[in-house]
Amino acid sequence: MKHDQKYTGQEFKVVGARVERPDGVDKVTGRARYGADANAPGQLVGLVLRSPHAHARIVKIDTSKAEKVAGVKAVLTSADLPDLTNGDAGNYATLVNCMARDRVLYDGHAVAAVAAIDRSSAKKALKLIKVTYEKLPHVTDVDEALKKGAPLVQPTNKQDGKPSNKSGHYEFGHGDVEAGLLEADIVMERSYKTEQTHQGYIEPHACLATVGPDGSGELWVTTQGHFSFRIMCAALLGMDVAKLKVTSSEIGGGFGGKTHVWIEPVALALARKSNRPVKMVMSREEVFKASGPTCATSMDVKIGAKKDGTITAAFIECRYSDGPFPGIWGMLGGMTAWACYDLKNCKAIGVDVLVNRPKVAAYRAPSAPMMAFGVESTIDQLAKELGIDPVEFRLRNVAKEGTRSSYGPVYGPIGIEPTLEAVRDHPHMRAKLRKNQGRGMASGFWFNIGGQTCSDLNVGVDGTVNLTVGTVDVGGARASLSLIAAEELGISYDQVKTNIGDTSSLGHNDTTEGSRGTFSSGMATIFAAREAIEVMKSRAAQMWGIPEDAVEWKDGEARAVGAEHGNLPALSLKEIAAEAGATGGPIAGHHEVTADGSGVSFASHICDVEVDPETGKTTVIRYTVVQDAGKAIHPDYVEGQFQGAAAQGIGWALNEEYVYGEDGCLQNAGFLDYRVPVCSDLPFIDTKILEIPNPNHPYGIRGVGECSIVPPLAAIGNAVSNAVGVRLNHVPMSPPRILKALDDAGA
């Protein structure tokens, strides 16, 4: 049955209500089960031996003593993981990242693994594995890696025919930037750097793996995408996809970091080798060293504008450090850089660079926050130079419906102008500022994605409904999906129970990333519900003995219409469900789709800070997020996404960074010295949800989860500039950097 994705502008009966989430009680009582909360009889503990060097050749690994330790059931090296990737570079990179083959590529890179009956035996065995390394020169800085003579991370990687650490170059934009610069009354050139950060989810990676002698396996794992994990693990281990059942546990935070496998193929390989269940949980140190942080960057920005604030040319080149394997981070950044603006001449170049650091994974609107820092900081300075209010400056150049975006597509109805107007008119802008306090604002963009999804809606014999979806619930989406199903069926929210199905119960579902969870599963749910409604209408027709076209569905019941049958009493969903056995069997609706048309999202933030000019310490005293959600299915959870994303951006702006030593080793692999914001660091974060419906979704839903991590870096930089008169171009804007900037300015 064909379904129309177009936004209908309908009035909602239950969608939009702030209902209680179905997993709430389990989570406040400790009953909810996360990745490390499952156990199997006879399970072994799996531990990984990791490289202490940033870059080295593995000369020899001697596991003989380790294998003899009492209680050890399997020892694993890359020799146990044959290369079955068949030329697929992405899969090969994952294979090598899971277990080093001929070289270790970063401090913490896995070299061997052990499964034993308890932790102490496993630790004993790890200590007895003798690895002979031949240290190689390393490079950890993105600009150093591009210099002539830099150590090569992947000697086979070539640019212009020569071995290089540059692994990608992407250009986006239109018009003629050089001509535009000549037209400008003022040209501003700036350079910026941002340090590497980690998603910082509180739950470390954890899984429980079993593999039977017949080659079938089960994996319980904390993940954002159990279907993609299944595909990857099956590919690396040479298992049939259908024979590997992956169940997603509750997830304790992901933000992109759990879209990629790290220890899971190793756990499965250990389970296969030992013929016992193997449980593996990463320590916090391992999470920082050997999962997937985001990129560090260095960038150059050049913007030309007329005296009246019209931008005539906009250029940015941003270099991203990918870790030891090529990624598309430069591409994603390049696409987002100028997206908020309607520009005649613009260009964004994203460059990917290899370094001896862990393999980068997505982190909430990946690659966008960095370029936005450069763009929004420079725009702010331009506006100041021209004596134009920063919001007004942006409004004069803002993208609207019909604008050709900097990355290609023409925009439909979008929210950037409304968010800027909302910021301009927000009471926050009128709050009084005292000495050493300053206000900054900035905007940001994220595309959001659609992707493959399918949902199953099953009507129970008592009329309550089971909705099974394949997108992992990272933040409360089950409530929203239940609301959507209830809305479609015309029943109350508490009659729908949404579950995340394992990989054997549904067709493929793409990972929950790109803010796609509620958007895609929501769409699949709407259409699955409509299928179920068609089935129920047909059953009602049978029960009444009338033609199907005389039946309509309204407010949770089938109604006979027309002169002939119109006076028949309505049949509720409950009544129809009770008769299902006699009318044709279980009632269900199912929908598979590659959801597209996910609406783009825009946000504008306002931030007030106070800076202590004697120490450079910055306190955020006021923060407001304005973001377009398309349609807020459950406003509490939409607000929560805005606030959580902003908090991560604030941490990134002020204190979070990976600190590397001269030896190429990570010095702050823990929450003590990797400084995420604590409760006393933040004020209340005010939120304003705008709803400019997405024309390509029946309810107008846009993805909401990511966009608000994009503006904070510049919002804070702009606020610091207004507080104490210095411009920081290096993120995080930690106290020593601010104090140094003050000293340099004073000198």
Binding site: G254, G644, F671, L672
Partner: protein, 160 residues
């Protein structure tokens, strides 16, 4: 390695276990006693996800040895609700959307209860500083603080 035999009380029930001397109370609770509501976020006392009370004092279970629990009284998240009746903090956390992924929630609830037991009418600043030892990466803390304020109000009303 010889094990240590411990007799203790957890959420009001007598519990006995044998554990290696160097095993943390966190590992004992999760792996031997089966109480997985207490979470490991870091293992080094920096995140508060393993918060419990030991003889009424708020502590991180990862920084207590299993052996130290001898003769002491432990409370964990599993002991917070009264049968089916949720504690006002638990109820307000749900109602105020103070959790997203929920993994930090047990630690926050134990810490918040410890705060309100000592200080039934805390200011926002007092709440924020009392909870500084509990990391949350999802919420930005806004709705958590509001939930604690609301629960404090409920508890003060109950006492009247």
């Amino acid at each position: 390695m010889t094990g240590v035999h411990v007799s203790t009380s957890i959420n009001g029930d007598p519990v006995e276990y044998v554990c290696p001397a160097d095993e943390s109370l966190l590992d004992v609770l999760r792996d031997r006693v089966g109480l997985t509501g207490v979470k490991e976020g870091c293992g080094t006392g920096d995140c508060g996800a393993c918060s419990i009370t030991l003889d009424g004092t708020l502590v991180c279970a990862c920084l207590v040895l299993g052996a130290e629990a001898e003769g002491r009284k432990i409370t964990t998240i599993e002991g917070m609700a009264n049968g089916e009746k949720l504690h006002p903090l638990q109820r307000q956390f749900i109602d105020n959307a103070a959790l997203q992924c929920g993994v930090c929630t047990p630690g926050f609830l134990i810490a918040a209860k410890s705060l309100l037991d000592d200080n039934p009418d805390p200011t926002v600043e007092e709440i924020r500083y009392a909870l500084a030892g509990n990391l949350c990466r999802c919420t930005g803390y806004d709705k958590i603080v509001r939930a604690v304020q609301a629960a404090a109000k409920d508890l003060r009303r109950q006492k009247k």
